[in-house]
Symmetry: C2
Subunit: 359 residues, 2 copies
């Protein structure tokens, strides 16, 4: 499987023409660095207010997106880059994308859980969730909107919704402050300066110029494929296997140990996808990319549902809640664990297609 | 679809040879009546003790089985039988099988819920569930066995298990007494006397002797097919559609309105299966019967999971329970609603096979 991707005549290598070398990598890194700086400028222009705007949320997403790609390239193609620079840069980029991701994660988690509560209550009046990223936070408490709809919920569901709203809005507000502090810190300015240098001058290792990128990209793909073989895909491909809810009532459900290999595959799939981009350019092979995207989306959904289920379980441990609230949170937890199971099924289906297509 | 089953040369009509007439129906009813009397005798021989035995449970099952078949035949082939006799007999047989079914239902429900709780707790120490029917009840409280395993459960799961054990064991004990009273009642003796007459002399209508049974059996099949067309089978056939848990937190979940058409199909499928038996004899067409059986088993599982989910929701309304107990019952409720969804998927798969096979 790995060898065939070394064949430059194989269209599935994502590359047609002469072998991509360090120069292609440098071009990819320059593009991503430029994108990072563009997003940063946009964010500063749009994100002046306390709660930001739609534009600044988009800017924050673009910032994370380019930071992830630069970071992934530093990981996959490390041997072609200046090792000291790589070692200094990678944790800084991880800090940026991790810090910026938190507010969005809490926002999305709350929306996911409130949407689920309304679905579970059979409410049809729930509006389509709105998304907000860093710098584009809605007012700290969203209690206004859910309160209006709470008339459609049972007491337990309404109280569970209010509890989750309180807890996740608090977490989101904190994440918002943390992200704003981070963006104004000298640490972040130092990173932005380094990215500005990267946009014009990529610190390639001496050997990089004539070196084929593809063996390194293939190694990233192999790490993904190896990790996928450790997943219980036969179980996942059998609908209603009830595997995700096993241990659903065991004391150590946060984080759920059985989810870890799936989270790992999610990260490796992302590294593989970005390595393909670096090798072939973003429009290299749209068909296979679409498959990778749908597999990746299933794993994103897996991660989101896993964390939402954990948040419901966590909320149920709040002291002095009413039994009806705890009951609703139990139903919600199980619902999200079934979403985890559904996401694994979706990944299995997407991955199977990919394997069939590539063999 | 219906018409093709009228063709006597079609092996799928379940009959080969001359058309089955009222005589075949009389033979079927005599066989079932004889089976009823045999089971009753066995039950009296084995069920003397307070808690009965494995043999008396088997006898009770056989009693219900033959009562259901006689009752179904009276329904489907009513026009071939003495109308007054039919009208007097059917509610009596329904009372017998309904009364005898309750204890078994509570036993099975408790086992299903405790098994699920152990699965949800990740406990591997749970023994295979044992079944007990009427007259073969375990000692009224099974608290002994679960208590030993409760060490593997969280506090919430253990308390939820204890609560369900208490509530369903009480219900089962009452059902056991009711069944014993019923079997000793003059009402039951009158029914047994009528069945004894039926074993030798079936009150056929005058027209029955030369009348083909198959149009009536086909009508039963048509009623089933019509009812199936009202089911949301496209949704059911799409895994993880999350339909069964909609309204899972709405106040009127017991009984769940969306389950009713499935329960109705379950009854019609049974009527169809028994009508086939009467027409073709119990070994008439093993292949199609196997398909019907698997569709029927899916609907049994649907019914069981639906009622177990309702029992968990009901238990959660017990006053003054701890939040951890309520949370575990919420998880359990959602788990059983997903079992409902899984059973619908299984029915859709079985039914699809059947339709493909019959077309």
């Amino acid at each position: 499987m790995a060898q065939q991707h070394l064949d430059p005549t194989d269209p599935r290598s994502g590359h047609v023409g002469p072998a991509p070398t360090g120069e292609a990598l440098a071009g990819y890194l320059r593009t991503q660095a430029t994108e990072f700086l563009r997003a940063l400028r946009l964010h500063r222009e749009t994100g002046a207010g306390a709660h930001g705007s739609e534009g600044s949320a988009e800017a924050a997403r673009a910032l994370r997106r380019s930071a992830r790609r630069v970071s992934a390239s530093l990981h996959t193609f490390q041997s072609l880059l200046d090792p000291d620079w790589c070692e200094a840069m990678r944790p800084e980029l991880a800090w940026v994308s991790g810090t910026l991701a938190m507010e969005h994660a809490y926002t999305a988690r709350l929306e996911r859980l409130l949407t689920a509560l309304h679905r579970l209550s059979g409410s049809t009046a729930f509006p389509a969730p709105t998304s907000a990223g860093v710098g584009a936070a809605a007012p700290p408490s969203k209690a206004g909107a859910p309160a209006q709809e709470r008339g459609n919920l049972t007491v337990g569901a309404a109280k569970a919704g209010a509890l989750l709203d309180r807890q996740l809005t608090l977490a989101r507000t904190r994440a918002h402050s943390t992200a704003l502090q981070a963006l104004g810190s000298s640490r972040f300015h130092a990173i932005a300066d380094k990215v500005a240098v990267l946009a014009s001058e990529v610190p390639l290792a001496r050997s990089a110029t004539g070196t084929d990128l593809r063996p390194l990209a293939t190694a990233a793909e192999d790490r993904l494929r190896d990790a996928v073989t450790t997943l219980p895909l036969v179980t996942a491909g059998s609908p209603y296997n009830a595997a995700a809810l096993i241990h659903g009532l065991s004391p150590d459900t946060v984080p759920h140990p059985q989810d870890a290999p799936w989270h790992q595959v999610r990260l490796l799939l992302r590294l593989h996808r970005y390595a393909r981009e670096a090798v072939s350019g973003p429009k290299g092979n749209a068909v296979v990319d679409l498959r990778l995207l749908s597999a990746g989306q299933a794993l994103n959904r897996h991660r989101d549902a896993s964390e939402a289920a954990a948040a419901a379980a966590q909320a149920a441990r709040t002291p002095r809640i009413a039994p009806a609230t705890a009951y609703a949170l139990g139903v919600l937890h199980a619902d999200q664990r079934h979403e985890v199971e559904a996401a694994r099924f979706a990944f299995q289906q997407a991955w199977q297609k990919e394997t069939v297509g590539a063999s």
